[in-house]
């Protein structure tokens, strides 16, 4: 991999799981990045020719009141069939913005939240999880701000840490969503009028901080530094990787190529390749390469495109987004 010019951000990244979100805007040849710092979200838009960068900072809000000091837990884009929304989750609630962060579309107050978000692109919904273990499902209209809470899923007893929707783009897989919590429990769901729980994969009290769902396969990153690959619907373990020497903070999958990216507190980012063997009902995992961000505990690692041609990394106390592209 080549290190490309890194992007400076206005303030350093906080030590939060999955603290980097990337949105590719092909029609405008731009990529947006967001990184959370305490009660502020740093947004950068980078042109593909590498020449133009523009910065914006969003501060957490409470309803219509400007500038709150409540800490932001995560900022990520939700890609829905007809629109993209930037969703910020803070200690006080959930704020949804238009994808460039310009206009707030919706605000939902929560009593005790700590949440990330995920989207289900098939349907017009997206989902929040909160520290009590509940998962909130919202219906999003294709335009406007008439967002409604449609369902609350209560399967987890520990704080939910991450969620993922099936990212292969194919409709052939039964599982649509996987949710993970602090005890390592993974719940696999099917979306519909009401969400249906398909399977629960136990965690044996090892916290799962990051999870991805691709071609009916769950990739989960744990506090012990292990990555485990499961078949979503049955919970069968396909692979166990002693991947990192410290807590994993971020996983990402490039859906077109099957590349898997993992970033951890041990300062390493590793790229793996997943190959499905449906005949053997197994998944192969191959290590491709690793990069070290010296003296930095990684908190966000994301591919910048669906092929995994490039990826970006953030770290605690680091005021830049480091990017790598395939040589």
């Amino acid at each position: 991999m080549n290190g490309e010019k890194s992007i400076q951000i206005k303030s350093s990244a906080s030590a939060l799981y999955n603290n980097l979100s990337v949105l590719r805007i092909a029609p405008r040849c731009l990529t947006y990045f967001t990184v959370v710092h305490a009660n502020v979200v740093n947004m950068v838009s980078a042109s593909w020719d590498g020449l133009n960068f523009s910065h914006r900072q969003l501060q957490s809000k409470e309803g219509n009141i400007a500038a709150s000091s409540s800490l932001i837990m995560q900022a990520s884009w939700c890609v829905l069939p007809s629109r993209e929304l930037l969703v910020l989750t803070s200690q006080k609630g959930i704020q949804m913005y238009e994808s460039d962060g310009s206009i707030m579309v919706y605000w939902h107050a929560l009593d005790n939240p700590e949440t990330p978000t995920v989207t289900l692109p098939k349907t017009q919904t997206f989902i929040e999880r909160i520290s009590s273990g509940s998962v909130l499902v919202f219906d999003i209209p294709s335009k406007g701000s008439n967002v409604m809470l449609s369902e609350v899923l209560e399967e987890h007893r520990d704080a939910v840490t991450d969620m993922a929707s099936e990212c292969s783009g194919s409709l052939e897989y039964m599982a649509d969503l996987v949710t993970a919590d602090d005890s390592g429990l993974l719940c696999v769901w099917k979306s519909g009028e009401d969400f249906q729980l398909l399977h629960k994969i136990p965690g044996f009290d090892v916290s799962c901080s990051s999870v991805k769902l691709w071609k009916g396969t769950v990739a989960a990153g744990y506090g012990t530094g292990q990555i485990r690959i499961y078949e979503a619907v049955t919970g069968i373990v396909h692979a166990e990787v002693n991947a990192h020497a410290r807590w994993i903070y971020s996983l990402d999958i490039a859906p077109f190529s099957g590349l898997l990216l993992s970033g951890a507190e041990d300062s390493l980012v590793r790229v793996w390749h997943l190959t499905m063997n449906p005949d053997a009902n197994s998944v192969e995992v191959e290590h491709l390469y690793s990069e070290c961000i010296t003296d930095t505990q990684i908190c966000g690692a994301k591919f910048c495109d669906g092929d995994g041609y490039a990826f970006a990394v953030t770290g605690y106390d680091l005021s830049e987004i480091i990017r790598y592209t395939q040589a």
């Binding site: 305490a38 090892v206 292990q226 373990v237 692979a239 990192h244 390493l268 191959e286 290590h287």
Partner: protein, 382 residues
């Protein structure tokens, strides 16, 4: 974020303060009985029942300004008086040492072992004073009761909350630079090797589980190795989470020794960064500050009912910077007095806080009058 950070924050920072004071006071040939008195007084205040009860209540982290005010008050709960420069340096050292410990902790749960290391040393400092020793023992029990049931995920959240508090602090400490645990840019060195945390495996192994299609075979395990890029070895045994025992982790033990003078160098840009971050949610901060300090004040009054004490002025750090500051400036209760003339920015800010209380009118019991009473009380104690 976590609501359980304060006891760990103040016990560990307090512990670092004691290590530094112990070493510096001895290095400056302060008589032993005075050093012991200083240490005992600080430990007694830190572990006083009202103070600990307040800290152990589940609550958000205090602002940096409040933390600093409390630690300054703690340092001055003894007969020792530090000038501004000494206090600043002491604070820098304490916070960077604890940041280092939080960052390098192998598992988030090991933060409790780091705390026990500080507690073990504190217990040794007061082993001759049964009354204070008792307070320390009670705090051990409280720590065990509150923290041992927390899950790994809850500990990680606690750690992340502490890391947010120390974000962007990159003061270079000469002891760390010499030991090569900190780089010239102020970042702490993260080694690519050493023992993995308890419960983790050495990276490098991929295990694939292959199932034979159709037949009733049990399946196979195929293993591959990959280069881990580091020199890792197996985990050390787990440290003791009991009242005493081998903690195994060395983070949190006393890293200062007679032969090592303790100094700090401060890079200019960092100071500005720290300054601008100080003013978050001023209304809340003022209220918390006053609550906590009222508890501290309570224990101070008990210690010295006749309120006549001779203070012992100390310059902790003998560096050139001392000359620039001129004479010692007594850092007393004026830190919170809104008439304080020293820090123009702080004065305006505090005046604004008081103004906001009056203008907006808090719906609950009037903090304005409470604040007034406390400030008056503190003025009277001078």
């Amino acid at each position: 974020m976590s609501m359980r950070t304060l006891p760990l924050l103040f016990i560990n920072l307090g512990g670092e303060m004691l290590y530094i004071l112990d070493q510096r006071l001895q290095a400056q040939n302060v008589p032993t009985e005075k050093t012991s008195k200083v240490m005992n007084d600080i430990i007694c205040t830190l572990f006083s029942k009202p103070f600990m009860e307040e800290l152990f209540k589940p609550q958000d982290m205090y602002s940096k300004r409040t933390q600093r005010a409390v630690l300054i008050r703690l340092a001055h709960s003894s007969i020792m008086r530090l000038n501004q420069a000494s206090m600043d340096k002491l604070y820098d050292l304490m916070t960077m040492a604890f940041k280092y410990q939080v960052l390098l902790c192998p598992r988030p749960r090991d933060l409790l072992l780091v705390t026990f290391n500080h507690m073990d040393a504190i217990r040794a400092f007061v082993s001759d004073t049964p009354a204070i020793l008792n307070q320390v023992e009670e705090t051990y029990q409280q720590l065990i009761k509150v923290y041992t049931p927390l899950s790994d995920g809850e500990f990680q959240l606690l750690r992340q909350t502490l890391l947010m508090c120390f974000q962007d602090l990159q003061i270079r400490v000469s002891a760390f630079l010499k030991d090569k645990v900190q780089t010239c840019s102020g970042r702490f060195v993260l080694p690519l090797g050493g023992p993995v945390p308890c419960g983790s495996e050495v990276p490098g192994l991929i295990r694939l589980f292959v199932r034979c299609p159709g037949e009733a075979c049990r399946g196979q395990e195929v293993c591959h190795l990959f280069p881990s890029g580091g020199a890792y070895c197996g985990a050390l045994p787990e440290g003791s989470f009991h009242m005493s025992g081998d903690r195994v982790i060395t983070l949190g033990t006393n890293m200062y020794s007679e032969s090592r003078p303790v100094q700090t160098q401060v890079s200019e840009s960092q100071n500005f960064g720290q300054h601008t971050k100080m003013s978050i949610a001023p209304n809340l901060l003022a209220k918390e500050e006053l609550t906590l300090l009222s508890h501290l004040l309570g224990s101070l009054e008990n210690q010295d009912p006749d309120k006549t004490r001779t203070f012992y002025r100390v310059n902790l750090f003998t560096v050139d910077m001392e000359e620039e500051y001129g004479n010692c400036v007594e850092l007393s209760f004026q830190v919170l007095n809104i008439q304080a003339a020293k820090d123009q920015q702080a004065e305006e800010e505090l005046a604004r806080i008081v103004g906001e209380f009056t203008e907006k009118g808090e719906p609950s019991s009037s903090p304005r009058s409470k604040g007034d009473d406390l400030l008056t009380l503190m003025d009277e104690l001078q």
